[in-house]
């Protein structure tokens, strides 16, 4: 009987998987992250406020590359995010070793979504306490933005927000989003949306902005670049 391992995530009478609901609650307590897809790129941004001035925030990076052209950010539990990024990077390298081409974003997302779903059905584990936003650009599919929830559900979005106050942020985005937006405008809107829900003063040091453009390279904007965009937004 020692090899039996039962799932801790089981249905209740009304058909809900409460552990997943609770995981979503945890995500909603996390700092906000949002993403916007433009015609020529994708921007993702996140609140990176630290709890105390004593924290050495030079070491604190929330956005992570998975392949040179795709980046992840999260809302929720940082440690859970680390596990998912490590897993996604390994999978992307394995893909490259087999096929000698960079893994497309849709498949990167599918790998991570699969893992997150497994943790809602496997024995003895809990769901991940994060929602992920995945941004990428490749020549064949163009710019893409995906959201993956603790349940493992993955959707493509034109613009979305996760974490604290995400409902307000999404309403704001719904009003401001238009299909013809270019990357610069998208960054502008992203910063405005982030500021709507930001507690305290938003500066280039307590947020993080990542972009991937037509060059197909995902990178995090330097504080100086973020400062320029913030000045424009004022």
């Amino acid at each position: 009987m020692g090899d039996m391992n039962f799932s801790l995530t089981t249905f209740n009478k009304t058909g809900k998987l409460l552990q997943i609901e609770y995981a979503l609650n945890r995500v909603q307590q996390g700092k906000m992250s949002l993403g916007i897809k433009a015609t020529n790129g994708v921007v993702i941004a996140t609140d990176r406020k630290v709890s105390s001035v004593l924290v050495d925030d030079a070491e604190y990076v929330k956005m992570q590359n998975i392949t040179p052209s795709t980046g992840f950010v999260y809302s929720g539990m940082g440690p859970d995010f680390r596990v998912l990024t490590r897993n996604a990077r390994k999978a992307a390298q394995k893909y490259f070793l087999t096929y000698r081409e960079v893994q497309p974003l849709a498949e990167v997302v599918r790998e991570s979504a699969l893992v997150m779903q497994e943790y809602t059905q496997s024995g003895g584990v809990r769901p991940f306490g994060v929602s992920l936003l995945a941004a990428g650009y490749d020549k064949e599919s163009g710019p893409q933005l995906f959201q993956i929830d603790p349940s493992g559900a993955a959707f493509g979005w034109k613009a979305t927000a996760i974490g604290k106050n995400y409902v307000n942020a999404k309403n704001f985005l719904e009003r401001r989003y238009n299909e013809e937006m270019e990357l610069d405008d998208a960054i502008h809107i992203a910063l405005l949306t982030l500021r709507e829900s930001y507690e305290g003063e938003m500066t280039e040091f307590n947020i993080e902005v990542g972009i991937v453009g037509e060059d197909g390279i995902f990178r995090i904007l330097t504080p100086a670049e973020v400062r320029d965009y913030l000045d424009e937004a004022n």
Partner: protein, 218 residues
């Protein structure tokens, strides 16, 4: 120890079929020409004098087989399957490099049990015409042109003297025909007809040069 003699360069087991062979592939601007002889032998018995040693892995990527017929057929079948799933998933044409790499993975991981020398050639919309050679042992080499199989030893000199950069499609075809015909004349394990497969972005053309039309047959 019968399997390790100079009379048995591929270490074939008793009764095993060999694609002794001469195979070759040449790139030109916008595509590739693949060529092969058509003899499958088992010792000195010619089991098939009109075999087809150039097989498709996908619409625009084909591969030439040499060595053990069984091993190369198995590899080609596996790679065809993997590439079909991969290309379906991506919803676009696969890279020649991807196909060649899959061949290499199988050949390298099973190197102790296999005798397969393959030349993978094709066209993709990303890099154009490409040729990759995967000899015994599982190295992979991207080249402008490649020859392989037992008959290739006899034509290294001819190939080097005939090859020129930037040949046209027609010149590549003549180059292949001449080299393979010379190899067939000297190598006991190569013979039959010359099969050519010409791949470019318009599509795939197949040609067969019969025994009495060979450009060289002393």
């Amino acid at each position: 120890m019968d399997n390790n003699s100079c009379m048995n360069p591929y270490g074939l087991r008793d009764g095993e079929m060999s694609s002794g062979t001469t195979i070759m592939a040449v790139t030109f601007d916008g595509g590739v020409v693949l060529g092969a002889d058509s003899r499958t032998s088992s010792g000195s018995y010619v089991a098939n004098r009109v075999s087809d040693k150039i097989v498709p892995l996908h619409d625009y990527v084909w591969t030439c087989r040499s060595g053990s017929a069984a091993d190369t057929q198995a590899v080609a079948d596996y790679v065809k399957y993997y590439i079909s799933a991969h290309s379906g998933e991506l919803d676009r044409l696969p890279r020649v490099q991807t196909c060649a790499n899959l061949i290499r993975k199988i050949c390298y991981n099973n190197k102790d049990r296999m005798m397969a020398g393959m030349i993978c050639g094709g066209w993709d919309p990303y890099e154009g015409g490409q040729v990759f050679e995967i000899p015994l042992g599982g190295t992979i080499m991207k080249q402008k042109f490649a020859i392989g199989g037992s008959g290739s030893s006899y034509i290294y000199g001819l190939m080097d003297s005939l090859y020129r950069e930037n040949m046209t499609k027609e010149e590549c075809k003549e180059f292949c025909k001449k080299c393979i015909a010379h190899a067939m004349a000297r190598d006991g394990s190569s013979g039959g007809v010359i099969r050519l497969v010409i791949i470019d972005k318009e599509g795939v053309e197949k040609e067969c040069i019969l025994g009495n039309e060979l450009p060289f047959m002393p």
